[in-house]
């Protein structure tokens, strides 16, 4: 074990002061040190995207970033999407269009989609398909995920 560093992570507007080894990934820190277990870990190779969170406005695979690199940055996770009891349009769209089955990859897809739609509200269908190909889902066959994200995009433009 190596020396731990004290850092503060700002997740969904709330500060978490934690001590982590330099090798601690952001994904592990979010889940284990900050107790936000909605972010899931699917491969730790940066391939499946289950651990996608938004860091300073950009979707990021939190298994490929060290926790210490995220200090001072605004981190958003699935737990921060809903406002009180009102679901974010992307969450409602995933429910309405059956964009999830087991739900394990869902937080990663939600954060990927939100990150992209906030940056590019009028993204074309082709570009959206490119973006959604970043993450893996084993249950849905993607068709309903694509439908849900398009519906959410329309809702978010309103």
């Amino acid at each position: 074990m190596t020396e731990k560093s004290s850092i503060t992570l700002r997740i969904n507007g709330q500060e978490h002061s934690i001590a982590v080894e330099p090798r601690r990934t952001l994904a592990d820190a979010i889940r284990e040190d900050c107790g936000q277990t909605g972010t899931h870990i699917g491969c730790e190779h940066g391939i499946c995207g289950a651990c996608t969170v938004i860091v300073d406005g950009e979707p990021v695979r939190s298994c490929l970033m060290f926790a210490v690199q995220a200090e001072g940055k605004a981190i958003r996770t699935v737990e921060g999407l809903a406002q009180n009891d009102t679901l974010h349009p992307i969450q409602q769209a995933f429910i309405d269009h059956h964009g999830l089955q087991c739900g394990f990859c869902t937080p990663g897809f939600l954060m990927l989609a939100v990150g992209v739609l906030e940056r590019e509200p009028d993204i074309s269908d082709d570009d959206l398909l490119d973006v959604l190909s970043s993450n893996l889902c084993r249950c849905t066959g993607y068709q309903n995920i694509i439908k849900a994200v398009r519906a959410a995009a329309a809702e978010m433009r309103k």
């Binding site: 074990m1 080894e21 090798r23 601690r24 889940r31 284990e32 936000q36 277990t37 909605g38 972010t39 899931h40 870990i41 699917g42 491969c43 730790e44 190779h45 391939i47 499946c48 289950a50 996770t77 699935v78 737990e79 999407l81 809903a82 679901l87 969450q91 995933f94 429910i95 309405d96 059956h98 999830l100 089955q101 087991c102 739900g103 394990f104 990859c105 869902t106 937080p107 939600l110 398909l129 490119d130 959604l132 190909s133 970043s134 993450n135 893996l136 889902c137 084993r138 249950c139 849905t140 066959g141 993607y142 068709q143 309903n144 995920i145 694509i146």
Partner: protein, 779 residues
């Protein structure tokens, strides 16, 4: 999308695409998965780096907490058992004891206070192994003189099934034409997005252990682990919390979970393990590694007379519990004739032990492989008779029901021909052929492929008993309670993990007792609260747990009618139960279910002994099984320069009986087709000659992404099942069963001008290019 309000009377909820009750928690990050639990101790399994050999020694740093087989005295080996098919009961030690038999086999356990420290420690554990040359391929393991992998299986054959219908030879010899195929299905990993994970904790006051793990079969995990460790079952509680996909990989017993329970008892503490993706790909269960030789005898009208099959399934290093490694070869043998009317059948099916990861169930179990084989053969036969591939299917599909197969399986009513015609019409074959002609003139190669198949679903204990399984699953029980506030809770033995069963069972209950699904909670996945049951696998839960739910709900309904009759002083025949109340028809007299429930618990003295107190009823269901069916059609474009295949269109015409929730049903088909497309084009676990795995991450083992998926067009027929009291048939596996055959048939159709045949899946660009190169050389 339907509104969630109750409308009128009669069947109000079944058949509607209501939103899933599971979803609000899952989209807000409030799902609870095994790896979310904290633990005092973390473990890392030290796995064999070599495929075969004898362990000479295991060394670890002084003072480190490392467990080996020598520490596990009194722990029995895992010995799955079949009482038929010359099955040889091979033994698997929880940690390798003396021999290692595949890369990834658990040899030792590193225990530490954190996951990282356990990983660091595991890196320092050295295993000295005297290596032997491994047997990786099933044919190599079958070869005369091949080294014996287990003492119980002298020729490396763990089981062998043989069938021959009376009169086979006579009819075979009368054939006008015999068509054959040598099919090869490469190895796959089911790849649930959540890999395996387990957490065992010790409860000091009771001495009980709670194992939380990502399983499809919590009760059977309890039974198996208690047996192996010599515990009372009641001292072990198994919880399957939210489970991130299973697809069959999570129905077998993992040695790792046995080890966690053993450790939690030893340490009197909590112990956790989260598998990483590499471990999942190399050491969780594999599937589909088969060679099938299939020959078909036809009369002069291209009518199928007889089938002859030789099935060789590579079952890996050990047998899986509870199904045993019979799961693939025996399923292939039983269902090879598929949707075709053929009464003469001879088959030899063998399970072959090798130095590879253990094979177990994966969505569709063997049927993607046998459907691939049979449907490729039908296309070859069509070519041999110079008739259309659709036409040869028309001539041979089963059309009269009930139909008893050559293997004695009874097919209930289905729509094999109707779904084929539906698909042919929708895809517009003549238009495609015209386009194909003009495309070929420009050097483009589109192709069309069909697959028709039957999908045996919802089968109870008699079907499993036919395999001679020492553990014979099948039935399901549901306990249904209306609590004193009128809220309804169903406790079920099935263990859904993405299938939406909480919603569909609530729909069934809602119709029966007249309450909205939002007032119904379905509880599952905890052996302390759910009745004993077999979990979720084999497209069984909606049929079997759904049937048990309906039976329990009918009893609750009958009791509510009695209570209503008593409270309203009305004849039961005049009472209707709907929208949360019992009403006397034609009057304004009514009583709510909540009031009746309160009465059932707190005012029983008024029942004068005529009604039993409380409001809980049980239903148990053990059906014979039913057959869903479908026709899949793929249109592909093959780039002959690169071997790249693009799926331009994918159409499914399917019949799964009565549909409880169309949205959920469609989702199951979409997901199955995606896995089938992965199976057809992309996914392959590759071993090298030394038994090492070359595909140990998701960049090398490639499940499809959104890019590879076409939009799937769905067409439905609903033939209510006579073998299922809800009239529903199962449909969890069909998508994965039909898609590989349809896609590879389409590739072959595309490449027909080159005179090549691709009878192997996945049909990767490398294989397509190799076939084209060889054809070019031959020309």
């Amino acid at each position: 999308m339907s509104s969630p309000e109750t409308k009128g009377s009669g069947l109000k909820w079944v058949g509607r695409a209501i939103r899933r009750l599971e979803d609000p928690a899952l989209v807000t990050g409030q799902g609870r998965f095994t790896a979310d639990l904290a633990a005092a101790h973390w473990v890392r399994f030290v796995r064999s780096p070599v495929a075969a050999g004898t362990i000479k020694g295991i060394s670890a740093p002084d003072g480190a907490h490392v467990i080996t087989a020598a520490d596990l005295s009194g722990v029995k080996p895992i010995v799955p058992m079949l009482h038929k098919f010359s099955y040889r009961p091979v033994e698997q030690s929880v940690l390798a004891d003396g021999q290692v038999r595949y890369v990834g086999e658990p040899v030792a356990i590193a225990v530490a206070a954190s996951e990282e420290e356990a990983e660091d420690l595991a890196d320092l554990v050295e295993i000295d192994i005297d290596e032997t040359a491994p047997l990786v391929d099933a044919r190599a393991a079958l070869a005369a003189g091949a080294r014996q992998i287990h003492p119980q299986a002298p020729d490396n054959v763990i089981l062998e099934g043989n069938v021959e219908t009376p009169g086979f030879d006579g009819l075979w010899n009368s054939a006008a034409k015999v068509v054959s195929i040598e099919a090869r299905s490469r190895r796959q990993n089911a790849t649930p997005m959540e890999a395996r994970a387990g957490h065992a904790s010790y409860d000091a006051p009771t001495g009980r252990i709670t194992l939380t793990c990502t399983t499809q079969m919590p009760h059977l995990m309890r039974t198996a682990i208690a047996d192996i460790l010599g515990m009372r079952e009641s001292d072990l509680r198994v919880i399957a919390p939210d489970v991130g996909g299973g697809f069959g990989q999570k129905m077998s017993l993992c040695a790792e979970y046995v080890a966690l329970v053993w450790l939690a008892r030893k340490l009197k503490s909590s112990v956790a393990w989260t598998e990483d993706r590499r471990e999942n790909l190399i050491a969780s269960f594999h599937s589909r590694d088969q060679y099938i030789t299939l020959e078909a005898a036809f009369d002069s009208n291209a009518r199928l007379l007889a089938l002859r099959a030789d099935i060789v399934a590579n079952v890996g290093a050990y047998s899986c519990f509870p199904t045993t490694s019979g799961v693939e070869p025996l399923m292939a043998m039983a269902e090879m004739p598929g949707p075709y009317d053929v009464q003469q059948y001879r088959c030899r099916a063998r399970g072959v032990l090798t130095n590879t990861c253990t094979m177990a169930a994966y969505r569709g179990v063997s049927r993607p492989v046998i459907t691939f084989t049979l449907e490729r053969l039908m296309d070859k036969a069509a070519a041999a008779f110079a008739i259309d591939p659709v036409d040869i299917r028309r001539r041979n599909l089963i059309a009269a029901f009930p139909y008893t197969s050559a293997m004695g399986l009874v097919y209930d009513e289905a729509t094999y021909k109707e779904t084929l015609e539906m698909a042919v019409e929708a895809i517009d074959v003549p238009a495609f052929r015209a386009r194909q002609q003009s495309a070929r003139a420009k050097g483009h190669y589109p192709g069309i492929g069909f697959a028709t198949f039957s999908e045996r679903t919802g089968y109870g204990s008699p079907a499993f008993a036919a395999r001679g399984m020492a553990i014979t699953p099948g039935w399901e029980t549901v306990h249904l309670t209306v609590d004193p506030s009128g809220f309804v809770e169903a406790r079920i033995g099935s263990s859904p993990h993405g299938q939406g069963l909480r919603t569909t069972l609530a729909q069934i209950i809602a119709d029966e007792i007249g309450v909205a699904p939002e007032l119904i909670r379905v509880v599952h996945g905890d052996t302390d609260t759910a009745p004993y049951g077999w979990g979720t696998f084999a497209s069984r839960s909606l049929v079997i747990s759904g049937g048990a739910t309906l039976l329990a709900a009918r009893k609750v309904r009958a009791k509510l009618m009695k209570i209503a009759s008593h409270m309203l002083e009305a004849d039961p025949e005049d009472i209707v139960l709907e929208s949360g109340a019992a009403k006397v028809a034609g009057t304004d007299r009514s009583v709510t279910i909540a009031a009746m429930a309160r009465e059932a618990y707190t005012q029983t003295h008024r029942f004068n002994g005529e009604i039993e107190p409380g409001l809980t009823e049980s239903g148990t269901y053990d059906p014979p099984g039913t057959f869903s069916n479908a026709c899949h059609v793929a249109i592909v474009a093959v780039d002959t320069e690169t071997g790249f295949v693009k799926i331009e269109r994918f159409l499914v015409a399917e019949d799964a009986g009565r549909i409880i929730n169309p949205m959920i049903a469609d989702g199951q088909v979409h997901g199955g087709v995606a896995q089938g497309i992965g199976n057809a084009l992309l996914e392959e676990i590759v071993y090298d000659e030394s038994g090492g795995i070359l595909t140990a991450n998701l960049a090398d083992y490639m499940p499809p992404t959104a890019h590879e998926m076409p939009s799937i067009e769905l067409h439905h027929l609903e033939t209510p099942s006579t073998q299922s009291i809800t009239r529903a048939k199962g449909l969890g596996e069909g998508g994965s069963i039909g898609a590989p055959a349809a896609v590879v048939n389409a590739i072959n159709d595309a490449l027909s001008p080159f005179g090549i045949q691709i009878d192997e899946m996945p049909a990767t660009p490398q294989r397509i290019r190799a076939a084209l190169r060889n054809a070019g050389r031959a020309a």
